[in-house]
């Protein structure tokens, strides 16, 4: 995979992430009322007392970390595409390496599918645009995950022996 392919996939991931965060992943319509949830609002529903700690962990792993990963990757790639070394290159690469185990978008997808099946016993629950975005995001992130940013160290510093 060359640099431009990685850049294209990262832009795709950014777009899909925005859709998954703004549109409903799951929605229920019942008796005139409607509820919906997505990557961003799922954590917000657990705001009661000290259960907020679970919400914080969930928000960090399914929203904040994936977002940071995409932003940092875009930062590196935007500079690399014009043959420049991004400011903070070393810090960003180390951060990407450290963030990776805490990125849980695919867990959120599987959880959403299970929640959908679980709730469909009571109410008609429908997947929204966010669900399809989440499916796409999981696939794109899986492909990007195969690409090892560690290999960039050698690309960025050919002068070091």
């Amino acid at each position: 995979m060359d640099l431009y392919q990685v850049l294209a996939l990262t832009i795709a991931a950014a777009i899909l992430f925005v859709i998954a965060s703004l549109t409903p992943v799951l929605a229920i319509e019942f008796g005139g009322a409607e509820t919906q949830a997505n990557v961003w609002t799922a954590a917000l529903s657990m705001d009661r007392g000290w259960i907020v700690w679970a919400a914080l962990v969930l928000a960090a792993t399914t929203f904040l970390v994936p977002m940071l990963q995409i932003v940092l990757l875009l930062w590196l790639l935007a500079f690399a595409s014009v043959y420049r070394r991004a400011p903070g290159f070393a810090i960003v690469l180390v951060a990407l390496h450290r963030l990776r185990p805490w990125s849980m978008s695919e867990v959120f997808l599987l959880g959403a599918l299970i929640a959908m099946i679980k709730l469909s016993n009571w109410v008609p629950v429908a997947p929204g645009p966010g669900m399809w975005a989440l499916v796409g995001l999981t696939i794109v992130l899986a492909i990007l995950g195969k690409y090892e940013p560690r290999s960039w160290w050698t690309l960025a510093e050919p002068q070091r022996s």
Binding site: I28, F30, R48, H97, V107
Partner: protein, 208 residues
């Protein structure tokens, strides 16, 4: 089987963040990786102790995580608390054995595998065991990889409480068990991250 010496025995140290291999002398003098400025560790500091501490914490938290309810649902037929296990059982009884299996694997089998595997790794490393080193290294990678799937039930509870908010139909509320469960995932992940798989290979008297 004769094994090649460890990097440490050859006077080398690899950076855990960027992979650069530096001479040990540099690491001792500077303490930081020449390329990415991460702290260099020949072996992770107090790896076994920290792993054990996180592991014990995770095991203790696992008890309330399973005993306390994770969710309270109330509807026309009255209210009910559900725990992780009762959730699995209700899926099973409803005939959804596949969903029950997925939640069982993520919420019960994965944490249990982590407790057993990390316990085994710690015990064998302490004894400087020569047994199945390559397989134990692989076991560590598996444990490190599967850990985060345990967050599955937290996602399911969060989505259910966000969606099931109908007075006429039923409402769902998160319960304290979910916080303990979240804590189990975080502590066991930190336990796996604290463990240094290179310790598996430090079995000669001159090592470690």
């Amino acid at each position: 089987m004769t094994l090649p010496g460890t990097a440490k025995a050859m006077g080398l140290v690899a950076c855990r963040s960027c992979g650069l291999v530096s001479p040990l002398i540099d690491a001792l003098r500077r303490g930081r990786c020449a390329r990415c400025a991460s702290t260099l560790h020949v072996r992770k500091t107090a790896s076994a102790q920290r792993t054990l501490a996180w592991l014990v914490a995770g095991m203790l938290l696992y008890v309330p995580a399973n005993l306390l309810p994770v969710m309270h649902t109330s509807g026309v037929g009255g209210g009910a608390d559900s725990t992780i296990l009762s959730g699995i059982v209700s899926f099973w009884r409803a005939g959804a054995w596949d969903i029950a299996a997925i939640i069982f694997i993520a919420s019960v089998a994965v944490p249990a595998t982590k407790f057993l595997s990390l316990g085994l790794l710690l015990w064998t490393v302490q004894r400087r065991s020569e047994w199945a080193k390559a397989h134990r290294t692989k076991l560590y990678r598996v444990v490190d990889f599967i850990g985060y799937w345990s967050m599955l039930d937290v996602v399911v509870v969060a989505l259910t409480t966000a969606l099931l908010q109908f007075k006429a139909l039923g409402t769902a509320e998160p319960q304290p068990g979910i916080v303990f469960f979240c804590a189990v995932v975080v502590t066991t992940m930190l336990a796996a991250k604290s463990f240094d798989p290179r310790l598996i290979w430090d079995t000669r008297a001159t090592d470690g």
